[in-house]
């Protein structure tokens, strides 16, 4: 990224962005107080949302739902329309922001190609359970959530987790419910994370619709072969889930132009497993982990891909030659073809665009680290440095080149570092978030990891002894 590209991102907002976000803020406040008795302020906010969608195909549905909700009828159908309307507005915000990125970076992006909806299979009863719980939570409002209501999420999550197609819903609800559980009584909180909880809730409602599941459409996905050059490792985790998402340049074997893709592998876990032990939850993907730890390319053969999401199949991958991700980004990233996400996934929080930033100055100001290039500043999301890797705020502060993911939250663009070149003791070193994928390589950190003991092994032993009695 050049300084002018940073300024193209950070100077001025797209038209209508603030208005759209204000609509969302109004809905968030209504959900905080609950839909059981909608006051005047919240009724106005909901009517505003309906008004904003009056020229869209959702118009009638949302207008009716908002009327009924204001009149005190929070049935799952109306609540779903509300979640859909809120998601549509944030989808538009997402599109505006992503366009801003593409214009600033000169990045080309392929459109999402819809496929005919799969014939709906058997609908899992877990979905109706999830819808009922989510509706009850919305009617109650975050402020009114108590232990009993949170506890009801347990069986909903358990049912969803048992159905592989509902993994997304299960993982989302489990993370959301754990936060609510930890925050009860919510009314006593200094501030309620209104935007966040409304986001999680809305996405949950969308994923809990009967039509949401047949969507992976993997059977009709494009299949590709070629070489993957990993650029960036992004790590996500909550108490019971971990996901490693690798952003990479894909060079098709047939000589087509390079594409910006990503692939994700994940595992279920428990809260007491964290740090470098996270990698040990992914033994099913040795080729991917080796590629990250050794900074190698990977040859993949005949793997499914939808949009930018390549579905990882370790048995169809083999290690290729070492690749310097910085060099790959320098040469290939500017012209790589990106892809739009699935329509349902359009939300500002999902924006994670790989960028290379070089020859900047880092300053530590009030509010955190920023990188500065030709007088243009970009805030650094140091709190997105993962627990399982060697990248620290200190290394970022000492860095002069960074591979990162562009993020956006609450009106601000942020740089999430995933690899840096930094000067430590007068030597230039390169550190990536995925460096410890095959084990901790730093002596001090390895000692700490060993001292913490192998949580995975201990719990597996306990499970083996107690679960099957």
């Amino acid at each position: 990224m050049r300084g002018t590209q940073i300024s193209a991102l950070t100077d001025g907002d797209s038209a209508g962005l603030t208005d759209a976000l204000n609509l969302v803020t109004g809905v968030d406040a209504a959900l905080t107080r609950g839909l059981a008795r909608v006051g005047e302020e919240d009724a106005t906010a909901l009517a505003g949302l309906a008004g904003a969608l009056s020229t869209t195909p959702l118009a009638n549905l949302v207008a009716e739902a908002v009327d009924k909700i204001a009149a005190g009828s929070g049935t799952p159908e109306y609540v779903a329309a509300l979640a859909g309307a809120r998601s549509a507005v944030l989808g538009a915000v997402h599109d505006a922001l992503l366009t801003q990125v593409d214009v600033a970076l000169g990045r080309s992006r392929a459109l999402w190609t819809p496929v005919p909806a799969a014939v709906p299979g058997e609908v899992s009863p877990a979905l109706a359970g999830a819808r009922a719980w989510l509706s009850e939570v919305a009617v109650t409002g975050w402020h009114g959530v108590d232990h009993e209501l949170v506890a009801e999420a347990g069986s909903v999550v358990e049912a969803a987790l048992a159905v592989p197609e509902l993994r997304r819903l299960a993982v989302l609800l489990d993370g959301f419910a754990a936060e609510l559980r930890a925050c009860v009584p919510v009314a006593r909180m200094v501030q309620v994370p209104q935007r966040r909880w409304a986001d999680l809730w809305s996405r949950g409602v969308l994923l809990a619709q009967d039509t949401a599941t047949g969507d992976a459409a993997l059977d009709v996905a494009e299949r590709v072969s070629g070489r993957l050059l990993p650029l960036a490792v992004d790590v996500h985790e909550h108490d019971t889930a971990v996901q490693i998402q690798v952003h990479a340049i894909f060079e098709p074997a047939d000589g087509g132009s390079p594409r910006l893709v990503r692939t994700a592998v994940g595992a279920a876990k428990v809260d007491s497993i964290g740090g470098p032990a996270l990698w040990r939850l992914l033994p099913a993907h040795p080729v991917l982990l080796a590629a990250l730890a050794q900074r190698c390319g990977v040859l993949v053969a005949d793997v499914p891909i939808r949009g930018a999401d390549m579905h990882w199949q370790d048995d169809r991958a083999r290690l290729d030659e070492p690749v310097d991700p910085f060099a790959a980004a320098r040469v290939l990233l500017p012209d790589a073809l990106a892809a739009a996400p699935h329509p349902l996934d359009r939300h500002p929080a999902g924006i994670a665009e790989p960028v290379l930033v070089e020859e900047y100055a880092v300053s530590d100001q009030e509010g955190g680290l920023t990188v500065e290039l030709d007088g243009h500043r970009l805030a650094v999301a140091v709190d997105r440095l993962p627990s399982c890797g060697p990248l620290t705020p200190e290394l970022v502060a000492a860095s002069s080149a960074c591979l990162g993911l562009l993020r956006w939250d609450a009106g601000r663009w942020l740089l999430q570092p995933v690899a840096v070149q930094a000067t430590v003791k007068r030597k230039i070193i390169t550190v990536h978030t995925g460096d410890w994928a095959c084990g901790v390589t730093d002596a001090k950190a390895a000692k700490a990891d060993a001292k913490a003991g192998d949580a995975v092994t201990v719990l597996r032993e306990r499970a083996g002894r107690l679960l099957r009695r």
Binding site: E237, T240, L459
Partner: protein, 168 residues
């Protein structure tokens, strides 16, 4: 992920609402949680590898109990919390931090209190038998997460849950 005192906090999608659990050794206490209105968990028996004790302290009344997973009362309960309860409280503080445990138990500990055991001594506790079944089944459910198969389907919702370095 800004601080909760920041005015913009409520308008952010990605904030850390709950501090992640801190790493600790799991051999002695494989499971501890603040849930169902109790500090509760499972303590491995020191003598029998196949046995565990289920220990709990109720947040509202500070009533405690400890028994084997088959509901046999712990022999260490003699008018005061047993060593299993002490160990449980110690590990809870390691995992969640003193503040969060104290807040959950609705007490404000003195400045000299550092460990869970010390926190426990300061409470006006009483013994009240409770069933081990609920806690034990929660523990089994907890363990069952390790048996859920991994996935290669992208989970876009996890972008709301970035991994972050634990702050001590």
């Amino acid at each position: 992920m800004a601080d909760v005192d920041d005015a913009g906090w409520a308008r952010r999608s990605v904030v850390r609402v709950v501090a992640p659990a801190r790493p600790r050794k799991l051999v002695k206490v494989p499971f501890v949680e603040l849930a169902d209105g109790r500090l509760q968990g499972v303590v491995s028996s020191g003598s029998d590898i196949g046995r565990v004790y289920v220990s709990s302290i109720t947040a509202s009344t500070h009533a405690y109990h400890c028994s084997t997973n088959n509901n046999r009362p712990c022999g260490g309960l003699r008018g005061a919390p047993c060593k299993h309860l002490e160990t449980l409280a110690d590990e809870a503080v390691l995992q969640y931090g003193l503040d969060r445990v104290a807040r959950y138990l609705r007490v404000e500990p003195d400045a000299e209190v550092n460990t869970g055991g010390e926190l426990l001594y300061g409470l006006d506790t009483r013994h009240e038998p409770s069933s081990a079944a609920v806690v034990f089944s929660r523990f089994l459910r907890h363990l069952s997460y390790l048996e859920v198969p991994g996935s290669t389907t992208p989970l876009p919702e996890l972008h709301w849950f970035p991994s972050t370095r634990a702050t001590r």
